[in-house]
């Protein structure tokens, strides 16, 4: 036993004299960093400010009367996610790509999921422990139950034989649920009362959904054989990519009123979503263009040979492979969009997590105590956990779709 340990030490830390020096120097550095971090988290950090302001940090000034709407939305979306996952499993079983045994939700599978997602789950648990009220606990419990329930009954629907009409209905139902929840949470309150981390997540999700179709169209346009369309798309992409997002946000904030009639000039959050969408679409287009270029000519020629129309060539043959080939770059862009939602707070005065973390240090009971390090650490943890999980899952998705191996 000690033999393997010594060998490990020798191989990993003390191969050569210079290695030993590096080990000592950087070992000391890591111990110092570790000590500083642990000391800050457990000893010197004064975390009351987070506990007191947890609600402000997470959901901003969302009015009391409507908080229940958020809880209901979370639960419904959890059920929706579970149902969708189960439904898709069922469809795969039907198509013969999965055996029924593989699609069952077993304890082992749940444990696997917990192991895969233990970091975000731990952070959610931490947030629950910090919260003073029972609401978040009930919401979390109900969402968990709803997701499991959805996952359990989903396969039964998925395994049904669906005709053209029925499958269209199922698509509409699955698309309608999140849209319905959108109206449910947004219309009651109005965008300008949104804030906190919820606002960051919301801006990111809306922009991600909207930027995809635009990005795909721009990429196809830039690769198109029609010269005028190519010029239009290329100009748009290059102009947007040359300008800083921050300046675009400032411009949208100050000057949008000049360009569109007042009736069309939307709320600040919507403006932010529009700018994020237009901005990210240009970057997405470049990434997808890379994917399109990676498709061998033979694929298109084969598609032509079996007589597919140009639209079907693109939709069935080229795009699925192209999008699959550039998954890491796409997710990377989406992560950077998520991080950039903080710019909306700075440029447009939205009350997002970063702005809240700054503002709460000026509250009367916390003013002048230098608590900014604590609040920024909390904000950093929130952003980190979402981005990190996204990039981890993208690596997994890439492996599962077999990029480079098929």
């Amino acid at each position: 036993m000690s033999g393997t340990a010594t060998r490990w030490l020798h191989y990993n830390l003390f191969r050569t004299k210079r290695d030993a020096v590096l080990t000592v120097v950087f070992g000391a550095l890591s111990i110092w960093l570790l000590y500083k971090t642990l000391n800050f988290v457990f000893v010197t950090g004064r975390w009351t400010i987070i506990e007191v302001n947890l609600r402000l940090l997470m959901i901003g000034r969302y009015p009391d009367a409507h908080v229940l709407r958020i809880a209901v939305t979370v639960v419904v979306l959890a059920a929706w996610g579970g149902l969708l996952a189960g439904f898709l499993r069922g469809r795969q079983v039907r198509a013969g790509r999965l055996t029924p045994a593989d699609s069952k939700l077993t304890v082992a599978r749940v444990l696997d999921l917990v192991e895969r997602l233990w970091i975000p789950l731990a952070v959610v648990l931490l947030l629950l422990l910090l919260s003073a009220t029972a609401g978040p606990w009930i919401t979390a419990g109900a969402s968990l139950a709803a997701a499991l329930l959805g996952r359990l009954i989903g396969p039964f629907f998925g395994r049904l034989r669906l005709g053209g009409l029925a499958s269209a209905v199922s698509v509409i139902v699955f698309a309608a649920i999140p849209l319905g929840m959108y109206y449910y949470v947004v219309t009651a309150v109005g965008f300008d009362d949104w804030g906190g981390f919820m606002l960051n997540l919301f801006l990111a999700v809306c922009s991600i959904i909207l930027c995809y179709p635009l990005g795909v169209l721009l990429a196809l346009g830039r690769r198109s054989g029609l010269p005028l369309i190519r010029v239009v798309c290329t100009t748009y992409i290059e102009l947007i990519r040359g300008a800083p997002l921050f300046v675009l946000l400032l411009l949208a904030n100050v000057a949008l009123g000049f360009f569109v009639p007042d009736t069309l000039a939307p709320a600040t959050s919507t403006r932010a979503i529009v700018v994020f969408t237009l901005f990210t679409a240009a970057y997405m287009a470049e990434i997808i263009r890379g994917g399109l270029q990676s498709i061998p000519r033979g694929q298109i020629e084969a598609a032509k040979a079996v007589g597919l129309s140009p639209i079907r060539q693109t939709g069935y043959i080229v795009l699925p492979q192209a999008l699959r080939n550039v998954i890491p770059a796409q997710i990377g862009q989406l992560i950077s969009l998520f991080k950039d939602t903080t710019l909306a707070g700075i440029a447009m005065g939205l009350f997002d997590l970063l702005q809240v973390s700054g503002a709460i240090t000026a509250q009367p009971e916390f003013r002048g105590q230098g608590l900014i390090a604590e609040t920024l650490t909390f904000a950093a943890l929130m952003f980190w956990v979402v981005s990190y999980t996204m990039s981890r899952e993208s690596q997994r998705l890439e492996k599962r779709l077999g990029v480079g191996s098929r």
Binding site: N12, L13, R15, R18, D19, L22, T23, F26, G27, L29, S30, L226, P227, L228, I229, V232, L239, R241, G242, A243, P244, L245, F246, V247, L248, L250, L251, V254, A255, G257, F258, F259, V260, P261, I335, K339, D340, T342, L343, G345, I346, L354, S357, G358, G370, I372, A373, L376, A379, A380, F383, W384, S387, Y388, S391
Partner: protein, 385 residues
């Protein structure tokens, strides 16, 4: 036969006609949108009596730029030029620092040493997933205002730099900046020529070229001679009362922006460097081992030159991102182009022309940098047979 077949195709099913019709429709829609936006803009502007021309550039700026001698009565034009210079200043310094730091960390991620590897990985994973805006806030409020000491007990780094929460003062030269640039340019030229000459000597005699060492020597000699001939001197910073004298004073906002941009971009550069090193065929490293190069030689002469070739386009993208991200300096009071634009809009300049001008400048910078990157890429690219 074919000719008659084509002539019988009605125009609404003729592919060529359809293609052009589709393009015309798209262009017409785009033009219509642009005209509509422009019409709205001129109408709204004239109704609110806001000028749409660029005459505001000649108005007095009526604000001051921190750390700049620009007077309040100078025209907006000059203020914007100073803002542009500030943008370039912080970008260039941060690009150099981020490249060095990122390369070191990227190499560290592939080290055989377990601690180095894990530390570098932890840096990348931690920094890459946190917004730049958060780093910026932290580097102003936590590092500069929190960690840095009061001016009365400022950190004195061997007399060369004085660090306090009022900024960093660094030893600096005295004399004309242009002349110094000229001298440095001559030094680099001497370095290049001497290195080339040493290479030829090595080819002829078979001795070790040591071109780096010789070149560095030539550079030092040329700069030292130039320094003496042109009568340059240096000043060291010193604390006097509640401020510093001597040296060059780096504004806290500059320092904070520089720090945040460097830390953030280095994590991205590190990932690119790591990927590029891994993309160099394994045989190259093994061949270097086989001819008994040392670890450093193997990295410096064999791996890095090939890795950098792969890394140039993505690193160029990171440079572009860094320049654009420097616009965030406006949020912490660094007078870059964006903050000058914001301030002058606040002082009554028309918003739309100001921001369009600002964007145009950024787009020009981007185009120039990406052209430079393309040139570098083309020169470094392996010519494949």
């Amino acid at each position: 036969m074919t000719a008659t077949a084509t002539s019988r195709i009605p125009f609404w099913r003729n592919v060529n006609v359809l293609k052009w019709a589709a393009q015309m429709v798209v262009v017409a829609i785009v033009v219509a949108i642009v005209i509509w936006l422009y019409g709205n803009y001129t109408e709204n502007a004239s109704r609110q009596n806001i000028p749409t021309s660029f005459d505001f550039l000649d108005n007095p700026a009526s604000f001051q730029i921190t750390g700049n001698s620009l007077s309040q009565s100078a025209p907006v034009r000059d203020a914007m030029v100073q803002g542009l210079l500030n943008t370039l200043r912080v970008s260039i310094v941060a690009i150099i620092a981020a490249t060095v730091l990122g390369t070191v960390i990227g190499i560290g991620r592939l080290s055989t040493n377990w601690i180095v590897r894990k530390l570098a990985a932890a840096y990348v994973e931690a920094v890459r997933n946190i917004p730049l805006a958060l780093f910026l806030t932290a580097s102003v409020l936590v590092v500069v205002l929190g960690v840095f000491p009061q001016i009365t007990d400022a950190w004195d780094l061997a007399g060369l730099a004085i660090v306090s929460n009022r900024g960093v003062a660094v030893a600096w030269y005295q004399g004309s900046g242009f002349g110094l640039l000229l001298i440095l340019g001559l030094g680099v030229l001497a370095w290049y020529l001497v290195a080339k000459w040493r290479g030829r000597v090595a080819d002829r005699t078979g001795n070790l070229p040591r071109s780096g060492l010789w070149g560095l020597g030539a550079f030092v000699v040329v700069v030292a001679v130039g320094w003496g001939v042109f009568g340059y001197s240096y000043t060291l910073p010193d604390v006097v009362g509640r401020g510093t004298v001597g040296g060059i004073r780096v504004d806290p906002s500059f320092f904070a922006l520089f720090l945040a941009l460097t830390v953030y971009t280095a994590s991205h550069v590190a990932e690119i460097v790591r990927g590029s090193i891994q993309a160099v065929p394994r045989g190259q490293g093994e061949a270097a081992d086989a001819v008994a190069l040392s670890g450093f030689q193997r990295m410096w002469y064999i791996i890095l030159p090939q890795a950098m070739r792969i890394a140039i386009p993505p690193i160029g993208n990171q440079y572009l991102n860094l320049i654009k991200n420097s616009s965030l300096g406006a949020a912490i009071g660094y007078y870059d182009l964006t903050l000058v634009a914001q301030t002058t809009v606040g002082n009554g300049s028309p918003a739309v022309p100001v921001f369009f001008l600002t964007m145009a400048v950024y787009i020009c910078i981007s185009l120039v940098v990406s052209a430079l990157v393309n040139v570098a890429n083309r020169r470094m690219m392996v010519v494949e047979r």
